[in-house]
């Protein structure tokens, strides 16, 4: 079997282990704290999946992703409180976020360079203003309280375990779809844009159109994560949707490795868990946890700088070279290979 084939098996095994671990976890762990943290991880994974597509495959950056998160959360929260079925509220939340994305993408992606980054930054700040000021819809600074849990017909996702499974089921669907986007024609077009826009255009790819599509997808995914978040916590307030959160999301993608969905997922898991380290390592002394929490932002910033300096391909690139080395050593020990 060829090396890529071997790696495919490895990938499949890894995904399978991961899936089993996620599904099995609530049966082993009853602790609501750990379930909550891992549910938040799942929500962040959805956010980052969208950002990763945009970032890695279209060479664009969004500094206002929190705005789409907020649009999703407020829209569906408001609709659900008004008695609209959850699935409809979900579609509403995703739709409004995607529409917001389209409004920003249409004018800014016609231009080359970092206009999207600049525009998303301004858009994020403007949306934060509306989240705070339109009190009749968003509840203003006091927040929108009493958002009902997600439900599909008679099936209500009210318990921590049910919420956990709902979020991770959506994560699975999102990652599958995103992997498909990456693997098939749109993904190749995207990578071409990242490589050389002119080259891509020479090949007959409408790069602007593809970039806009990707941005709308990433905004929609932001909205989707926001919908899940709102119905999960039951309370939404403007302080969640800040530039700081948008920057943390960028950090997650950068740590994982631009251009790698799996890397972005890993980066998200690690950085989301960092301030909650005590949930993962129970024996940790309180003072250690307190120091880590105190230095969380320094660590985020340093990680961002160090990764960009020394591992520009992020965790994904690092893991890939590690596996390549292991594979080399493996094939050196067993010359010829014993498997077909």
């Amino acid at each position: 079997m060829s090396a890529p084939g071997k790696r495919n098996i490895l990938a499949a095994v890894a995904i399978a282990i991961c899936a089993v671990a996620i599904v099995a976890l609530p049966f082993v762990v009853a602790d609501r704290y750990i379930l909550r943290i891992l549910t938040v991880v799942g929500i962040n994974v959805i956010m980052v999946a969208g950002l990763s597509l945009l970032f890695g495959y279209a060479g664009q950056i969004s500094l206002g992703q929190a705005a789409f998160y907020g649009l999703g959360a407020y829209t569906s929260g408001y609709l659900a409180k008004a008695g609209v079925p959850w699935l409809v509220a979900l579609v509403g939340g995703v739709g409004v976020a995607a529409l917001g994305g389209l409004l920003i993408a249409l004018p800014s992606l016609r231009l080359k360079g970092h206009y999207l980054a600049m525009a998303t930054l301004g858009f994020g700040e403007i949306m934060l203003f509306f989240f705070t000021e339109t009190e009749s819809i968003t509840g203003g600074s006091n927040g929108l309280r009493g958002i009902p849990p997600a439900s599909i017909g008679p099936l209500e996702f009210a318990t921590p375990v049910a919420k956990y499974f709902l979020v991770w089921a959506v994560v699975a669907i999102v990652l599958l779809l995103a992997a498909n986007v990456v693997r098939h024609r749109p993904g190749r077009a995207l990578r071409a844009i990242h490589g050389s826009e002119m080259g891509a255009q020479a090949c007959g790819i409408d790069t602007v159109r593809v970039k806009i599509q990707v941005f709308v997808i990433s905004a929609g995914l932001g909205g989707l994560a926001g919908v899940l978040y709102g119905h999960y916590v039951g309370f939404v307030s403007p302080s969640t949707f800040t530039l700081h959160y948008s920057l943390i999301l960028v950090t997650m993608v950068a740590l994982g490795g631009m251009g790698s969905l799996g890397g972005a997922v890993a980066g998200t898991v690690l950085l989301t868990l960092l301030p909650f380290i005590d949930a993962i390592i129970p024996g940790l002394p309180r003072t250690t946890v307190a120091v880590l929490q105190d230095w969380t932002n320094d660590i985020y910033g340093l990680v961002l700088i160090l990764v960009m300096l020394f591992m520009p391909r992020g965790l994904a690139g690092w893991a890939r070279s590690l596996v390549a080395r292991l594979a080399e050593r493996g094939s050196a020990r067993v010359p010829g290979g014993e498997r077909a």
């Binding site: 490895l10 089993v20 671990a21 693997r183 309370f235 790698s260 890993a266 898991v269 129970p282 969380t296």
Partner: protein
């Protein structure tokens, strides 16, 4: 294919993190919140404070106060012979982290009560988790909404706009300052006051002639104050607690506005005086009696509580405590005093009932008497007016 494989490896890391480490993680935790375990075991209370992020300036003093007082209580023999342990968690001024920390305190540390959070938003967001667990919460956020949207489990120690706005408006009416130029910060704290002032001004025969806001990040409010001036205001009423509030008296001095500045309790701290400098002289603000404990009368329990706390805090940390430290002190002692009155084997519901039964507790913010409908527990008698004189807050009148 390349990407897929890279993705797979990323996910492998996740699987390792989740699959290997977590099962160990759950071993240490069990469910349920038993209040009175074996004798000699500490009472465990949780505190969610904003030690980092935007509200770090408030959370820090709150933590100081709690650390100091817990040590003092334990040195004096604890509560009913049992030691007290307060587990302090940092919510990074973030709503989601506040909820997660609360869940952690309830699930893993089996706390019998929660103090916090520092901010109103966090305090409100924590409510669902609190209700689910049925433990009492003593919030340190000052938003009126915390007790206005009543929850039997939730108590609140800071002064609220509900408490102070009527006093401020009454003062303006008494002084004949009927044309009010309102300026508020564009945050939950400011909006709380802004909404109440606008709603109640007419009751006191006042007219809000100009309703201006500023952002915590603003560097200058001369624009807003110029508009207030152009509307012919008799007084500037400010509802703000952020550092930028000290720009307002400076800009008023610079514009020679020549009208008084009356403020909420948000500015009743040294930081405001330092920031405002000379322009701060004469500024009026409403706050509890802790800034001038002699108003309680020397030797009264309230006087002793206030002066003792200020002395201990100043000795321990080298600076005088601000009122946020005082609100945390109150939050801690409301729970501690209730614990003292309870027999072993109580439930969280018993503790809640006992906190609600608090009557005449001499705290730092005021004298607390809770009832089934009042979980803020202070009255207009607890609030007095201060003026800045010679670089410190002194009792006005």
């Amino acid at each position: 294919m390349e990407r897929m494989k890279r993705g797979a490896l990323g996910i492998l890391c996740l699987a390792l993190a989740v699959g290997v480490i977590l099962p160990g993680g759950c071993a240490g935790s069990d469910t349920g919140g038993d209040g009175g375990a074996a004798t000699g075991e500490p009472y465990v209370i949780g505190a969610v404070l904003s030690l980092t992020g935007a509200q770090a300036g408030l959370g820090g003093p709150e933590k100081n106060a709690i650390d100091m007082e817990v040590a003092r209580i334990n040195e004096a023999g604890g509560i009913n012979g049992r030691p007290l342990e307060v587990i302090i968690e940092d919510d990074a001024s973030d709503v989601d982290q506040a909820v997660a920390r609360t869940t952690k305190l309830i699930e893993q540390d089996n706390v019998i009560a929660i103090i916090g959070s520092t901010g109103t938003g966090q305090s409100m967001a924590m409510r669902d988790v609190i209700s689910e667990a049925g433990v009492p919460q003593v919030a340190l956020g000052s938003g009126s909404v915390i007790t206005a949207e009543f929850d039997p489990l939730v108590f609140q120690t800071p002064w609220t706009a509900d408490l102070i706005v009527p006093l401020a408006l009454q003062y303006l009416a008494d002084e004949g300052l009927t044309k009010v130029g309102l300026i508020t910060e564009d945050t939950g704290f400011g909006k709380d006051g802004q909404a109440l002032v606008n709603a109640m001004a007419a009751e006191y025969g006042l007219e809000v002639v100009s309703d201006e806001v500023f952002k915590p990040a603003d560097t200058d409010m001369t624009g807003q104050l110029t508009v207030i001036k152009s509307k012919g205001a008799d007084v500037v009423l400010m509802w703000s607690s952020v550092a930028a509030s000290s720009i307002v008296p400076k800009n008023m001095a610079q514009l020679n506005l020549g009208i008084p500045l009356v403020c909420s309790h948000g500015v009743a701290k040294q930081e405001f005086i330092d920031g405002a400098g000379e322009a701060g002289e004469g500024v009026l603000a409403f706050a509890g009696k802790v800034l001038a404990p002699e108003t309680y009368g020397a030797g009264t329990p309230s006087y002793d509580a206030a002066t003792g706390f200020v002395e201990r805090y100043t000795a321990a940390y080298g600076v005088a405590p601000d009122h946020f430290a005082g609100h945390a002190y109150d939050g801690l002692y409301l729970v501690v005093e209730a614990l003292k009155r309870l027999d072993e084997g109580f439930t969280p519901a018993d503790l809640r009932d006992e906190i609600e039964a608090t009557s005449g507790f001499p705290g730092i913010g005021g004298v607390f008497t809770f009832s089934a409908t009042d979980h803020n527990g202070m009255t207009a008698d607890d609030i007095v007016m201060y003026r800045i004189e010679g670089g410190s807050w002194v009792l006005a009148e």
